[in-house]
């Protein structure tokens, strides 16, 4: 009889299902995984060290580039850490704007996730559907910040500017004309909030479409039900948060348990799974999209009714208005000092976490009183999640590793930092 021995296989970093730059060294017994050893760090840019060499505000843009599909949530954790040490609080309107954009970001992230996870497991169409809606929300990002992805919109003390009163429209071109153009611009006649309101009214039916494609799909269920089962104990042992722990039936959500921004005022539900497998985590994330949609609607209603400042009036932290800078000498001095030197943050340390779409995104900030952080550590949910892959995929088949990587919702910008 022929002797069969285990062999080692290299999965990635150039593999479409490796979600970027994951290199996975797999020890296989036939098609069964005996040991999985992920090699990460191929996208390590030393964000934390770079942040130590710059004034506080200049690192906000780096946060977008960590988890580059949930940009504003990362900013939120960093900005909140600075605000905690400074002892300032953003105005109420800014808090509502942040809450709204955190939820827009959650939908953006989950759309990316549902599309790419389905693609990994062989369903092409979902990706195309999901990107249709992502495009609309990217336009909302662009409307407030000028950038479709890397917004740098949140600032210590508020947000960079108020919501725009006008939504950008498509212009006539050889590709968009006539009725097609009218359809594209139908929601874009009014303000950004009008556009978003039209979007949220329509979005639940879009989620139904994704569910139509996947929820009762036999192939989808064969690939996900009973795969990668995580018990609540295992989830806690491995420091899991977000949909990973909620999929295992633990109703843990920072938005409810340790509310920040305006989540305490919001009416929404926390979906939890039962079995803790890939299918349950899929259901949890789909339901989270619907709940995020609800939160956005509540924020829109409040923001319409309550105009007000979106930035603190503390010129030691936030720059004065540009018109004031042109006329008032003190404003000019503040402006000059803020943009050449930045602001000092009182000595101390803090850990601030937000419920990012992937789990708990935390920022541990140590300041010694200088205008640059002494130490910034960013707690990325994906890093903690991926570290648990070895005990979870042991005994599974090779194809299930792909399902597992997909369900972790990995983005290597945050894993490698």
């Amino acid at each position: 009889m022929q002797e069969i021995r285990n062999y080692t296989m290299n999965f990635g970093p150039q593999h479409p299902a490796a979600h970027g730059v994951l290199r996975l060294v797999l020890e296989m017994d036939g098609e069964t995984i005996v040991r999985a050893d992920p090699h990460v760090g191929l996208l390590h840019r030393g964000t934390e060290k770079l942040a130590e060499a710059k004034p506080f505000n200049q690192s906000i843009g780096y946060m977008d580039r960590l988890d580059y599909v949930s940009m504003m949530c990362n900013e939120h954790a960093y900005v909140r850490a600075i605000e905690t040490l400074l002892g300032i609080e953003a105005p109420e309107r800014a808090q509502y704007i942040r809450t709204m954009f955190d939820e827009i970001t959650r939908i953006l992230n989950h759309l990316m996730w549902i599309g790419s996870n389905a693609l990994d497991l062989g369903a092409m169409a979902v990706f195309l559907y999901a990107f249709r809606e992502r495009e609309e929300l990217m336009d909302v990002y662009e409307a407030v910040s000028g950038a479709r992805m890397h917004a740098t919109y949140y600032r210590p003390g508020g947000v960079y500017r108020d919501l725009p009163g006008k939504m950008s429209q498509y212009r006539e071109s050889p590709w968009h004309k006539g009725n097609d153009l009218k359809r594209l611009n139908a929601w874009r006649e009014g303000s950004m909030l009008d556009f978003l309101e039209a979007f949220t009214a329509d979005f639940p039916s879009k989620v139904d479409e994704y569910e139509e494609l996947l929820t009762n799909n036999r192939i989808w269920k064969q690939r996900t039900v009973g795969i990668g089962v995580i018990s609540p104990e295992l989830a806690q042992q491995w420091g899991m948060t977000g949909a990973m722990i909620r999929g295992s039936g633990v109703a843990w959500d920072l938005r409810k348990k340790q509310p920040y921004a305006k989540y305490a005022e919001m009416d929404f539900d926390i979906p939890v799974g039962v079995n803790g497998d890939c299918y349950d985590r899929y259901l949890v994330r789909v339901e989270e999209m619907r709940q995020s949609n609800r939160i956005i609607q509540q924020c829109i209603a409040w923001l319409r009714a309550n105009p007000g400042p979106v930035m603190v009036e503390n010129f030691k932290v936030a720059p004065p208005r540009r018109e004031a800078m042109k006329e008032d000498m003190e404003a000019l001095i503040h402006h000059f000092k803020l943009f050449t030197e930045g602001y000092g943050v009182p000595a101390g340390e803090t850990y601030c976490a937000v419920e990012a779409p992937k789990g708990e995104f935390g920022c541990y900030l140590v300041s010694d009183g200088a205008n640059k952080p002494f130490r910034v550590h960013l707690r990325a949910p994906g890093f903690a999640h991926l570290s648990s892959i070895d005990p979870i995929v042991r005994g599974h088949m090779l194809a299930d590793v792909v399902a597992m990587i997909g369900t972790y919702d990995l983005v290597f910008g945050e894993v490698d930092r």
Partner: protein, 242 residues
């Protein structure tokens, strides 16, 4: 977490552990400093005892306290040399690998900072463990208590050179295969030590010393402004001094 919750956690900790932990409370966050020798016993108790139930290790990271509170620009007195006051500092953006400061004496430079979370009691706790020997900082590994600390400890080892005693697989994790040095230490240059390019003649990737010049655009400044002093007093957060 509310104020009362934090206070009661601090009280429960000091009642249970006494002098083993050095506890400080800032804002609503509780920090406990623990000696390396006591870490495992304390960690196990924190995980298992009903009063604490810190079932989840959320985060573990290294910190290098070298140069804490040092600035590059004297703001107390006025000198006639203008902006050049700012370029004499020794921050990590200002030196190359070859000129890095070798004799760096700051007692107890390295610490591992652990953030714990109790899902059952909805509370958080920060543990700080200093490595006693700065030339070889050693801290016991908590992988036996929280399995999830595995990668976080590898990261702290990789970036700071903190050795976690008892870790099952203490390899580098984020830096390149064959990397030299611990890049997040404050005496490691910001520009790094080597750069990589493809050499068409040798037909392979080659490593060379970095060619870029170190530079700093904004000097590091600590201003004792009135409102900062006030904020300092209000925070009553003197964890570094005591």
């Amino acid at each position: 977490m509310s104020e009362t919750q934090t206070n009661s956690l601090a009280e429960r900790l000091s009642a249970r552990f006494g002098d083993t932990l050095k506890i400080s409370v800032a804002r609503t966050e509780v920090t406990a400093e623990v000696a390396a020798a006591d870490l495992i016993a304390v960690a196990t108790a924190l995980r298992d005892e009903a009063a604490f139930r810190f079932g989840e290790l959320v985060d573990l990271c290294g910190v290098d306290y070298l140069g804490y509170g040092q600035t590059e620009w004297d703001t107390e007195t006025v000198s006639g040399t203008g902006f050049s006051r700012g370029v004499e500092g020794e921050a990590m953006g200002r030196f190359k690998w070859a000129d890095r400061p070798r004799d760096v004496s700051q007692p107890r430079r390295f610490a591992a900072v652990i953030h714990l979370l109790s899902i059952e009691n909805n509370q958080r706790l920060r543990l700080r463990v200093f490595g006693e020997d700065d030339s070889l900082p050693v801290v016991p590994s908590v992988t036996g208590v929280w399995a999830g600390s595995n990668w976080f400890e590898r990261e702290a080892f990789d970036l700071y050179g903190i050795i976690f005693e008892g870790h099952p697989d203490l390899r580098r994790i984020l830096t390149d295969y064959g990397f030299v040095g611990h890049p997040f230490r404050k005496d490691f240059p910001l520009i790094g030590n080597v750069e990589v390019r493809y050499d068409p003649e040798q037909k392979r990737v080659v490593y060379e010393p970095v060619s870029i010049e170190p530079r700093v655009l904004v000097p590091r400044v600590i201003r004792d402004d009135a409102d900062l002093l006030q904020a300092k007093a209000e925070a009553a957060d003197n964890w570094r001094e005591n």
